[in-house]
Subunit: 707 residues, 2 copies
């Protein structure tokens, strides 16, 4: 097992153990003793002889046995000394509970850096500081100061917030949710969320992992671990700091900068992790994943003893893209023989208000037999004659028969009531309201799709001229520019195989005309000068020229105008460029996220981008499927397929451009942003063409960035 | 009090009372006795002498006292006879519990009609059939067969589904939610949801009303009642049947056709009713409205003892359009003196993990004093030292000080735990998760806005020529057409003062040229014939003509082509029409909803309508505010304000067109649909112009529609 010292220690020292009941050091020790930890426990406190019946040591060095894990709860300014002693004693892992580090400001940050150095010096791993501790139910290890101990189970939780961590523990307790492990990572000075996720991959006791986080420490590592984990078990993530206020709030309280939320969502998509929006969704999902099999399709049978809740479930399913198919004809016939004549044998399948457990059982068995049903939502409303306990028992028993998920919605029952207890004992999750059950099924199906998807190769293209790109960029770099000119951007795009309008430099009127004749009309003529950025504003661009004669006049006009208006500008002639025929306008962009690398964007282009925000995102590198998904997720997809009888657009060529940009952004790490808007997409087989390209380089750094 | 016989009867007969405990008739009688009803109770059953200690009557006519309310639970085929006896006895109100009426099909429907006639004959009002009964806590009246009796409170519930009704009752019981009244309306053969809503308007015991419904019986009445009710108290509506599957499910189980969901949402907007999406939101809102004052603004202070949950609350508030302002400087200074030095005194206001009740109290008092705080979300996570009970007590006490809503989120507590009990006793709603509290505040604020909005007059326009419209329509009617031709639609729009391109009939080449010269180029020339519908397809439309000569040629071309291709068509010449300059394209439409009348639609126009679906809806008649809201709710609003430095569009003229269509649809009840797409909107002061108009009339009916 990875992180053995933390998740499976043989001996634990509690440094800062205290006799005072209100002190954190006392609570940790008491939790450790009460949770039934089988290994050795050593309280450390220079001012006590015995605490809670255990011999107390003046310092960790006094302990004779080897120590796997030290839990430190002393004032911040005493932590370094204590950890130094741990190092000398060859302790393997240290959990620093104490607060007063990077979360408090610059001084605390310095102290935290010293703490990390000290641990590295002795080869110790560090959890925290500023955390609640950790719990591993299997070995009865509760090395936290949480007020409650969870019951054992197969959910592992990692929380970046101690407060939310204790709320999760309490909530789990009241709802009889069993936990395998609980980790409060605190400031993540050394061990991060990703390290613990890594450890849970092979942990047999963990069937599903839930994470609360506000920001990511190392994006690439997180991507890699989350992907490996998601392949084996569901990873449910509640990330806050999704809005501006939230980000401000998050950074003020943990000192961690909540990263780009869009990039984080893209990271979840890439890895197969399930991002949830609310705490309710977080718990609802964990409850289902801990016990139920995955739905292998989107077909749900709703079984209900009341019309109203059935309709609510049906609405919720349809909104979420789940189907409610009818049962096979022979199954319906079978039901008709056993059900009252006025029963509605559709979907929802109404077992009627006077249904007993037997009618529920018959309905369930039909659902199991059916080849069109992938999962079941079973609703029970407590009507006058409803034998709720017996129905619960029937579900718990019959559910063992098959590998189809069943989610119950016994409505209006207390968590502690007998029917709900029976369901729980039968490992059937129950949801107060059918809408919640529908949402859970949808996310379970999402996970099924993500985890069963074959690993697609990263799409690559050839015919790219990296050297040309370096050459063009170096011009800008030499001049200290971070924004490339339109011409430079076009040249780079062209070197990367992205279609751009033909464009040739003319040095005379005659050359201009010859070029125009060869690339075909209509053309635009623009002055060529590295010093003139706003050519249009200066009247140095003439569009829509249709003859050699006009080209000549345009050439003279723009060159003379440039020389008159900016005598000092270098003018090398004029660029003759093919006018771009209009097509369906899309935008393709990429920005470099500091955590996750290039974030690709696709959407409806032209002037609509800003106000319609019809865009989708993925992290580079893209697979072909990624690129197609990006397109289909937007409403622009409908436009590209063709509205009002238009023929479909050239998807192949569009995807090719997306892949090229993905590859380009991966290769040139100093490009921080690029955007083609619009990219004109033509009919199938007719390609596409970039009309406008923006590209920004990173600021040139003369020295290495400070660590 | 309205519906006095139902909500405040002095004497109740239970017809079909039974000695068998499992029978519905037994349960009703028992509920009535056990709920402490002070009036007289008369069991009626020809085969029993005594039931539950009460003298039993052979028939209702044997009872000596006058009967206000009869609750009928006999087989469907015996109901008519029983109700006849009730009529003779001059019973005032009848609740028919029995099922087997319109919900079962054609025969049941006939029986239900007879039932209604019978009641009308004797002037009795009827609740049901096929319902759970009714409850009025104030007078201890439980005339239902629900398995639980609610505790008294100030929430009244009306449910169209009996099953959901019992789930609501159970849920209310387990969550200590007090009810004033509970009504299960069943098939609404006579009394509808609206009748009970009407009764609750003046009911002092009802502070908030919750409705579960699947369809509306009488749209206009509902609009009127819901509006009057919403002015006085919040009306929270959970309507299902919002999706196609849901609608199918709803009609299969109640026989009621779930109406247009979009129109229903528009009806809620018009009346100030709060439509909710899920049962959870339904209960969450009722809980808050029953006790808390309304927030008078969108500014929320989040008080928390844990960073993580504070961030979750902040995210949720921002997503919902609520603000998190900072406290005033002097209040922050005051807090700084009493809080630990590293406390973050922002918003969320972090009272820190070791906060005691006193620190919460100080924070709350600052929120009360502040002029920038309209409402408070108070979060508590159960950390090691947190005195949850004391904090609950402090909130309950201090909350009485001011008229600002406080919603608590004590996280990870059981509903039955002491802190939550204390909160409940102090009338502070508690939400498991802070996101729920934020959503509730948002909807409370929505209600505050809706209920405090001055009653705006319906916008009207003058200069409309109703007679001209009638004249133009009569042509189509005479020909049995329901679709108007483009010319007819343009003429009608023009008669209603909607700007349409100038368009004049020319009967000769010379006339065509003269017209073109007078209306100005460019123009289009289209053949004029009532018999040719698809002029463009037949090549009988020529666009973008710029000279008199071209106009002449176009005239000859289209007229000749029409005569050649359709020799039998009546051709009166050609229409010369001003070409419409391009502007920002919007769509304005209206369809006549069978329940709620004309439903107006506004959105982004042109080819984008279908795939972007950027549209908003309101029921006619519109106020000026309605029209402006319709615009601002769409993304088209950004386009109209001007993107990329464009000047703003002519909103005044756009609103004027919307008002005209609203008035038109109200006036001409035989127009079932009209749509302008696109309407070109020009710069401020430059008006707008309809490019394409579709208009559909109702099918001509020779006889009155069957009742």
């Amino acid at each position: 097992m990875k992180l053995e010292a933390f998740l499976n220690p043989s001996s634990v020292a509690v440094i800062g153990a205290s006799r005072e009941e209100k002190k954190v050091g006392h609570r940790i020790l008491r939790n450790l003793i009460n949770s039934g930890f089988k290994g050795s426990i050593y309280p450390v406190n220079p001012n006590a002889d015995m605490i809670l019946g255990y011999k107390c040591y003046k310092s960790v060095s006094e302990i004779e046995e080897d120590i796997d894990l030290a839990v430190v709860s002393v004032p911040a300014n005493a932590v370094l000394g204590v950890v130094e002693e741990c190092g000398r004693k060859r302790v393997k892992g240290v959990v620093v509970i104490s607060a007063g580090f990077s979360e408090t400001g610059r001084e605390g940050l310095m102290l935290e850096k010293q703490l990390v150095s000290k641990c590295r010096e002795y080869g110790m791993r560090l959890q925290g500081p500023n955390c609640l501790g950790l719990i591993n139910s299997r070995i009865g290890l509760n090395a936290s100061f949480a007020p409650t101990s969870p019951i054992p189970g197969n959910i592992s939780i990692v929380s970046q917030s101690g407060a939310l961590g204790s709320a999760i523990l309490n909530w789990a307790g009241f709802n009889s949710m069993g936990l395998a492990s609980f980790i409060s990572v605190g400031n993540e000075a050394d061990l991060t969320i990703s390290d613990f996720l890594d450890a849970f991959i092979e942990d047999e006791n963990t069937r599903v992992v839930g994470v609360y986080m506000e920001g990511v420490k190392n994006g690439e590592y997180f991507l890699e671990v989350a992907k490996r984990l998601s392949r084996k078990k569901p990873l449910v993530i509640l990330k806050s700091g999704t809005t501006e206020i939230g980000i401000r709030a998050a950074s003020s309280h943990t000192g961690s900068l909540a990263g780009s939320d869009v990039a984080f969502s893209a990271a979840c998509k890439k890895t197969g992790a399930l991002r949830v929006e609310t705490m309710k969704e977080f718990f609802d999902l964990l409850f289902a994943f801990q016990d139920q099999p995955l739905p292998k399709g989107r077909n749900v049978l709703v079984i209900t003893n009341g019309g109203g809740p059935g309709v609510l479930a049906a609405d919720a399913c349809e909104k979420l893209g789940l189907n409610l198919p009818l049962l096979e004809r022979d199954l319906i016939e079978g039901l008709r023989k056993q059900f009252p004549p006025h029963a509605s044998l559709g979907n929802p399948l109404d077992v009627l208000g006077d249904a007993d457990e037997n009618r529920y059982k018959i309905a369930l068995e039909s659902a199991f037999k059916s080849n069109v049903v992938d999962s079941i939502i079973l609703i029970l409303t407590p009507q006058a004659m409803t034998p709720s306990e017996e129905v619960a028992r029937v579900i718990a028993e019959t559910s063992k028969m098959v590998e189809k998920p069943i989610l119950a919605s016994f409505m209006g029952f207390d968590n502690d009531s007998t029917p709900i207890r029976i369901l729980r004992a039968g490992r059937i999750p129950n949801y107060d309201f059918p809408e919640s059950a529908a949402l859970v099924l949808r996310r379970m199906y999402d996970y099924y799709l993500a985890s069963s998807k074959a690993d697609e190769p990263i799409a690559t293209v050839t015919g790219v001229d990296n050297e040309a790109v370096v050459r063009i960029k170096s011009m800008a770099e030499a001049e200290g520019r971070v924004s490339l000119s339109q011409e430079e951007a076009f040249q780079i795009a062209s070197a990367y195989g992205i279609p751009v309008p033909k464009s040739v430099l003319a040095r005379s009127v005659r050359e201009a005309c010859e070029i125009a004749e060869s690339i075909g009309y209509p053309v635009a003529v623009k002055v060529a000068s590295p010093d003139i950025l706003h050519k249009t504003d200066m009247g140095c661009v003439i569009l829509n020229i249709n003859s050699c004669e006009e080209v000549g006049r345009a050439y003279e006009l723009v060159v003379n105008r440039a020389r008159t208006l900016m005598p000092q500008a270098r003018v090398s002639g004029a660029i003759v460029q093919k006018m771009v025929p209009s097509g369906r306008e899309v935008i393709i962009g990429a920005v470099r996220d500091p955590q996750f690398g290039p974030l690709m964007m696709f959407g409806l282009g032209g002037i609509y981008v800003n106000f319609l925000r019809d865009v989708s995102y993925r992290l580079a590198p893209l697979t072909l499927a990624d690129a197609m998904e990006m397109i289909t997720e937007t409403k622009a997809y409908a436009l590209l397929k063709g509205v009002r009888g238009e023929p479909p657009a050239d998807f192949r060529s569009l995807v090719d451009v997306m892949i090229r940009i993905s590859q380009f952004m991966r290769h040139f790490k100093d490009v921080v942003e690029m955007e083609i808007n619009p990219l004109m997409v033509y009919e199938e087989g007719k390609g596409c063409m970039a009309v406008d390209i923006k590209m920004t380089l990173a600021k040139h750094r003369t020295e290495e960035k400070e660590k």
